[in-house]
């Protein structure tokens, strides 16, 4: 365990953490930080205006006006009400926001919406054909590859992408290829079974 009395942290005496002296909008102001960040770049006093962003999601092109900071995930969830793509960590560490961009699985939380223009986006809402579920969706139900359901859209988007990736045939290969999608409920064995069911059926068909 740590020695609590190190020099660079103030010990027993009462101390005052300084307020930042930065100007508003300065690009290096840290949340309630006691340390004034030096060497800040020139302040951007007026934030850049919202920008037009055209996204093609599940075959439909939608024109939005967005803050440039908007991620693809927040554009989907907050602006387009396509809430199937989930925000689990917002830092690329859980896979709940997995969507297909140009047919490849990517993380919508680390993708700026403005950078996803002119490329087809597929989300979980775009997987079924009418009332007919994608075989992977059906396999997840059949194998009970889900519990709370929050990671499920990301799992399924990963699993569908995996079908076109060089993933080995063994269960261990699927486990590795599906490890970018965290499931806290622990549906992993059933997810592997669902993926293998679809791969087997695809190979047969």
């Amino acid at each position: 365990m740590d020695d609590p009395n190190r020099r660079e942290f103030i010990g027993t005496v009462v101390t005052t953490a300084l307020a930042s002296v930065l100007a508003p909008g300065t690009a290096r102001a840290d949340a309630a930080s006691p340390h004034s960040p030096p060497g800040a770049p020139p302040p951007t006093l007026t934030p850049p205006p919202d920008i037009p962003v055209a996204l093609t999601v599940n075959g439909t092109t939608v024109r939005l006006t967005l803050d440039p900071r908007t991620t693809l995930l927040d554009a989907l969830r907050e602006s387009m009400h396509l809430t199937g793509s989930k925000k689990g960590c917002d830092h690329g560490q859980c896979g709940a926001c997995t969507v297909h961009l140009n047919g490849r699985r990517v993380l919508a939380c680390l993708t700026l919406a403005v950078m996803a223009q002119d490329q087809p986006v597929t989300t979980i809402e775009g997987l079924a054909r009418g009332d007919t579920l994608h075989p992977m969706q059906q396999a997840f139900i059949d194998r009970d590859g889900l519990q709370c359901g929050y990671c499920t859209p990301g799992q399924i988007m990963s699993a569908v992408a995996l079908l076109n990736e060089p993933c080995g045939p063994a269960d261990d290969d699927v486990r590795e290829c599906m490890s970018g999608n965290i499931c806290r409920c622990g549906a992993y064995p059933n997810i592997v079974a669902a993926v293998q069911d679809v791969r087997t059926a695809t190979a047969r068909g």
Partner: protein, 716 residues
């Protein structure tokens, strides 16, 4: 019907993205709230600087202790743990842990609110915090109130000293576990919307009625004015059992601004603000005769809590009933740290306590040169040794024997390091598991609708546990209709009241209410000489009755049987590990859980739930460790890249066995609840397997490679 492996009735909603979690309700004119957190662990805020945040584009309001609406009794009106927590509601300037909410920024857009929150500045008069559990141990003090309101904090039976003196073999060991953070995949979130004096909360919770009561008290408004909706909760594991600060802050801001406000915690904010399994330091003493008979057991637990709330991890409860031993002492102590308040986490109490007890039992078996299962059978408790009551049901003996047989226990070599496969030592271990079978009052309404559908309502919760599915099955079973004819509705305080979905309560409590309501509806229809078996006949019946739904309500509550029997689930966990002989990495290669948990309503979802519990236990065993900086109290690995929950590649085949058990006492359905026990015993089973593989006994969770690599008895 009941007992059929029915696929989840909400499966389609979940696999298409159509299931609506609370942050996903489309609400007009929604504003986004982002919590500002302290950057010191202990002290007072001397000044806020919110000017830059206020003038940031899109910002609607910035709340701090300087200007936040005053709440009755300074926000403590509902404080009655665990249902109502001491929260951080901007009512004063005290800072009690690092990362504590000290402000809320509300803006038109999420991006604007997030940025503006980073511009709020605070000045502190700060004090040196107490963070480190080991250095805080001398300050431990006995926990005095009853645990969970009903269990004495300390127990004594027989004569411990005499029992230890009479022993041929003794174990005296200390087991530690770090703070374990739940990390449900869905972050905590709330949308608060006022319509005049009526408040609607869309909240990710395990307890809609609990939130309703708490919020009403906090704001000093009638309970009738608060509605809480939660149709899907994206995992909880105990962390959404009580409302935390963000719920109140969202409602506070929404009221002040007269517009709906959404607050979603960041992943980082899920460390500290919303509870965690506390640190535990457990001292175990066991004494036994040569034949394995336990002569003495002492279990003292010290767990961490916050500086502002006494929350105790009920660690030793399982020890009191697990084995027939006449000399025993148990006790709970607390250490106050400058961290967030802990809370229930999957298998609360038992997950930590059984780790120590069943590791110590393994050590005792080694010392006695006995088979670990044989040692447990030698001390098998035929009735509850603490209360003297009969068990309502107990199949632990079968769990041991059938589990051992299926797992291949007889092939185990007792001598560590005696099985080698390539680069790895292979070992197997086992543990017992137990969790109380509890029940609480619950109500349900069953209605035959004009369209011939049967709608059953109960304000319970879907956390991934399969509630929608099993309640549908229970109702359909009682009414003799296919499940497609039943629609179950939950998660809304307009529906009949139900208890918290925690502590394995739901199947027992709500399940019974749903069963009784459906039976009552069935009887009512029968009295009308009606027939609901086809949709046409059902429609006719409603039409004949005047077109109004035909309904029946049931209010179910536990009775005297609760006092006449000791009610618990039991299980036996078997684990096989491969420990790299050079690198010390531990790979779980097989696991089996054999359970006697009462009647299984749906073997498909039940199996999933047990597997999920075991995987949760695997994380607790091998990787999870909430790291704090001992000097500042900052939560360091507060994300999913450094706080390591299991990923798919960590998980081998996991086998689940359910004993054929239908408890005659717990409730009319014979269930005992299965949500918690899956996590219990996994840790000891794996730790014991690691010992069997390597000869290294790790008593300090998590079992990371450095603890094996650095061990003197471990060398390639």
């Amino acid at each position: 019907m009941i007992g059929d492996p029915v696929s989840r009735v909400d499966g389609r909603l979940k696999v298409t993205g159509a299931a609506r979690y609370s942050a996903e309700w489309p609400i007009d004119n929604l504003a986004y709230g982002v919590i500002v957190q302290s950057t010191v662990a202990k002290g007072m805020i001397t000044a806020f600087d919110t000017e830059h945040a206020r003038s940031s584009p899109g910002v609607v309001a910035v709340y701090t202790a300087d200007n936040a609406p005053a709440l009755p009794d300074k926000g403590r009106a509902a404080m009655k743990p665990p249902a109502g927590r001491e929260l951080s509601l901007l009512q004063d300037r005290a800072v009690r842990y690092n990362g504590e909410p000290i402000g809320l920024v509300v803006a038109e857009k999420f991006e604007q609110a997030t940025h503006a929150a980073s511009l709020v500045r605070a000045q502190y008069e700060s004090h040196t915090p107490l963070i480190d559990m080991q250095s805080a141990l001398p300050s431990a003090y006995p926990y005095k109130p009853n645990i969970n309101g009903s269990f004495p904090p300390a127990t004594q039976r027989g004569d411990l000293a005499a029992g230890l003196a009479a022993a041929d073999a003794r174990i005296d060991a200390t087991f530690t576990a770090p703070i374990e953070t739940h990390n449900s995949m869905e972050p905590h979130n709330t949308i608060a919307q006022w319509d005049g004096d009526q408040l609607t909360l869309y909240d990710s919770t395990q307890f809609v009625y609990g939130v309703k009561r708490f919020i009403a008290k906090i704001f000093g408004i009638p309970e009738a004015n608060v509605r809480v909706i939660s149709h899907f909760t994206g995992g909880a594991f105990g962390s959404k059992g009580a409302p935390w600060s963000h719920v109140v802050l969202a409602a506070m801001a929404a009221r002040a601004l007269n517009r709906p406000v959404k607050v979603v915690l960041t992943r980082k904010q899920m460390f500290g603000l919303v509870g965690a399994r506390p640190h535990t330091v457990q001292h175990l003493k066991l004494g036994a005769r040569k034949d394995g008979t336990l002569t003495a057991m002492e279990h003292r637990s010290i767990s961490s809590t916050s500086s502002f709330e006494e929350w105790v991890e009920p660690v030793t409860l399982a020890t009191r009933l697990m084995y027939a031993c006449s000399n025993q002492q148990t006790a709970h102590e607390l250490v106050r740290l400058d961290v967030g308040t802990p809370t229930f986490n999957r298998g609360p109490g038992e997950s930590s306590g059984i780790f120590a007890l069943e590791s110590a039992m393994d050590e005792l078996a080694v010392k006695l040169a006995m088979d670990p299962i044989e040692l447990r059978l030698r001390n098998y408790a035929e009735r509850d040794p603490e209360s003297g009551l009969e068990w309502s049901s107990k199949s632990l003996r079968q769990c041991y024997s059938l589990g051992a047989e299926r797992f291949g226990w007889s092939r185990r070599r007792a001598e560590p390091r005696s099985v080698r496969d390539g680069d790895a030592f292979v070992g197997i271990g086992m543990s017992s598991a137990t969790y109380p079978a509890r029940r609480a009052p619950a109500s349900a309404l069953a209605r035959l609708m004009p369209d011939g559908m049967i709608v059953v309502q109960a304000a319970t919760h879907e956390l991934g546990t399969g509630t929608y599915t099993i309640m549908t099955q229970i109702a359909a079973d009682a009414l003799g209709v296919p499940i497609e004819r039943v629609r179950f509705e939950l998660g809304d305080t307009r529906l009949p009241e139900n208890p918290i979905s925690a502590g394995s309560l739901t199947a027992q409590s709500t399940g019974t209410a749903v069963h009784l309501a459906a039976v009552a509806l069935h009887d009512k229809i029968a009295a009308m000489r009606g027939d609901v078996t086809t949709i046409v006949s059902a429609r006719d019946l409603v039409t004949r009755g005047g077109g109004q739904p035909i309904e029946a309500r049931a209010d179910a509550k536990p009775g005297d049987e609760q006092k006449a029997f000791s009610m618990h689930s039991f299980g036996a966990i078997f684990a096989e590990v491969r420990v790299d002989a050079s690198l010390g990495t531990v790979k779980l290669s097989r696991m089996l859980g054999a359970y006697g948990v009462g009647r299984i309503l749906n073997p498909k979802t039940a199996r999933s739930q047990m597997i999920g519990g075991m995987i949760y236990g695997l994380g607790m065993t091998l990787t999870e460790d909430t790291l704090l900086d001992a000097r500042t109290g900052r939560y360091l690995n507060a994300d999913l890249a450094e706080y390591l929950v299991p990923v798919n590649a960590d998980i081998p085949e996991i086998d689940v066995m359910f004993m054929d058990e239908r408890d005659p006492q717990t409730n009319p359905l014979g269930t005992k609840g299965i949500g918690e026990i899956g996590c219990v015993g996994v840790t000891a089973a794996i730790a014991n397997a690691v010992y069997n593989a390597t000869g290294v006994r790790v008593r300090d969770l998590p079992i990371t490679l450095d603890k094996i690599l650095g061990h003197t008895s471990f060398a390639d």
